[in-house]
Symmetry: C2
């Protein structure tokens, strides 16, 4: 939620749904800029603050929001009541700053709903077994919303964001990108983890685990738009591959621009070699994305992986200084300017030829493929950064995504 | 607490006490301006916000403070832990925005103290029986501090404020005003309620009820000043009249500048007449200060009381429009420009002549006394506002307060 004006708009929207007879639970985020303001206060005192105390401070942003939203709802004549995470309670483990939700007791909320109240629950936060306040980390409010929907057996969880749904690819790259009316949970998971940052990946996982019908839609529309229109807007994440999906193959093109590729050349193909290489990288808190190890030739193999570009230099240092000698590698090569492009689609499972169509398309554009990695419903390739937009546009066109699901 | 710099200063001061071997519990207020910022957000949404939701928002100011202070303490190498009101828990009744503390469970705090931790507790807030967040109203942090000290059987409760103690009178009025090293609880109560706004009156009442040795001292001193000096600075509120007090009579001159005096003339001296007059005034949320009703003559009496000057016009309206006729008063008179001046001292109990000395002093200055009211340890007079400073200075001199307690 942004300014006071946006809080009032949220209240108008909620009132509209409530008036139509729906029982509503709202999980607002902190006001725009508030979480950053709090983190700046903390970091002005300590560069490495105690995580428990950081959570104590950070959780107040959402607490302010729920109180203000409840007041705005009451101002519209609705009965409303706000709850913090601990009041619900939303129980989590004790991993401060990135806690995981363990259990939600919906009893108090259900009582309020039965009494005709709108319930407003603070997102992003919970409480551990010892009554400490915890937060869920980035995107935690989405996760809270989906988890609350699961705990209450909600018909649908509506996630209002600053985009109006999930697209076949980023409209800033491909003008013809089209909003998907539906996407399966598995596709959404791949799209989220591959860089379409509409929903935080943890909230998608939660939706999958508890089969929460989740809709992503825009918070920037007129709050008084017709309900019938609003309830069919955005993108619905589903759990059944319905009939219209049967012929569908590819739902979208995802990409990750800023990657770096690292190859440890000529390491002995012995057990534990992958751990010897990646252990110190993980210990330095560097996330590794794609990992490839080819069949060995003459007892030697090349071990390749990608990292975020910001971590590239640090990863290379660690490899050259500490690991190269230990694993008797011939050399360590790297390229800090690569991008990953992926085609995603649940229909891929039962269709052949997707990979070859993808590779042919890239080849026709003269784009060299540096690495390939596949899952059941996606194929990712690593290419030179400068070809990224070209690749995305060519694939979007080849799979006819601008015309609806490709067949 | 003010800025980040002030939080760091508080941490330095606490560390100094901790290093000297004291077990410390700190009850910080919200950062400077934070509570007002939160209330402005609320009032931008609703002129009459729901009190429960107002508390939800307002309580976050102190929650931010405790987290930041704990982080600052850890940054100095101390082990510290912060708690909100509900985490302690500080249990209150359910009167939102002005809740009263019912019970404090000190068990968790005691465990932390025993483990060598500094404990930081959010002031101004608590939790009711149904897990709703409550706040204690203006000055609530002082009250929280005293209540926590009582619950933990603390040796002493130190209240750091923006003044360096309790004075014989306001130094802005009398240059020779002198800081009192000690003051009894009852004197403090009279001084607080009479306008020396060093401590909120509720915190003084709490200190009295639970016999908490409380010291008022300055937060503006060098946090690293010698401990020995700091622990004897400020003003100690005591519960015994010690030997040095035996001969003492007057501890200070308190005053209330902005009062209005109202006289309901010639009302029948019948039971219930006071309630008939003051009931509607109280119902309009107007605080009444002094009340005087003289012996009746021929079944008629004059009923006189004072109100804050801001409420004067409203009170006069209510009396003239609704009450005057009902009680068959001859007329309603008033003066919006009067001040109250009081001499306060526990020694007054056993001394005669204080009243006459006071009246003679005022008479010598040509100041007319409009009303007189007394308690066991104070004498208050109402005078024309323009003589207020003169009266305070003359009394301060007459009772030799600049030289230590008068004899």
């Amino acid at each position: 939620m942004g300014s006071i004006e946006r809080i009032k708009n949220v209240a108008l929207r909620v009132a509209k749904w409530h008036k139509a007879g729906y029982q509503i639970v709202v999980v607002p985020s902190a006001m725009s800029g508030e979480t950053n303001r709090l983190l700046e206060l903390v970091h002005a005192i300590s560069p490495q603050p105690d995580p428990r105390e950081l959570d104590m401070v950070a959780a107040t942003g959402e607490q302010v929001s729920v109180g203000l939203l409840a007041i705005a709802l009451k101002e519209l004549g609705l009965d409303a009541r706000s709850y913090t995470g601990w009041q619900v309670p939303i129980k989590t483990d004790n991993t401060h700053t990135k806690a995981r939700i363990v259990e939600i007791d919906g009893a108090r909320v259900q009582q309020d709903l039965a009494a005709g109240r709108v319930v407003v629950i603070a997102g992003f936060q919970g409480v551990d077994n010892e009554h400490n306040i915890t937060t869920l980390g980035r995107g935690g409010t989405d996760t809270s919303a989906v988890a609350v929907a699961a705990a209450l057996n909600a018909d649908e969880c509506l996630i209002y964001t600053d985009v109006d749904g999930v697209y076949t690819t980023d409209p800033r790259v491909v003008e013809e990108a089209r909003r998907l009316e539906r996407i399966t949970f598995e596709e959404m998971l791949e799209m989220a983890s591959l860089g379409s940052k509409v929903l935080q990946i943890r909230s998608v996982e939660f939706a999958g685990k508890y089969q929460v019908k989740t809709r992503v839609l825009s918070s920037l529309t007129d709050p008084l738009m017709p309900l019938e229109e609003e309830m069919h807007s955005g993108t619905l994440i589903t759990f059944e591959e319905d009939k219209t999906m049967e012929q569908a193959v590819i739902s979208g093109i995802a990409f990750q621009r800023n990657e770096g590729r690292i190859v440890v050349v000529g390491v002995p193909d012995t057990p534990g070699i992958a751990y010897q290489i990646l252990g110190p990288i993980a210990a330095a808190n560097i996330d590794v994305d794609m990992i490839i190890q080819n069949q060995s030739v003459a007892g030697k193999t090349d071990f390749t992986f990608t990292v975020g570009r910001n971590d590239y230099a640090r990863a290379m240092d660690i490899l050259n200084q500490h690991i190269k000698g230990q694993v008797s590698a011939q050399q360590v090569l790297g390229d800090p300017k690569v991008s990953k492009v992926s085609v995603v689609g649940v229909g891929m499972r039962s269709h052949v030829g997707i990979a070859s169509k993808m590779f042919r398309t890239l080849s026709e554009e003269g784009i060299n493929i540096q690495m390939i990695s596949t899952s059941e419903i996606k194929i990712s390739v690593l290419i030179d950064e400068k070809y990224m937009e070209l690749a995305v546009r060519a694939l979007h066109k080849a799979f006819e995504l601008e015309q609806g699901r490709s067949t």
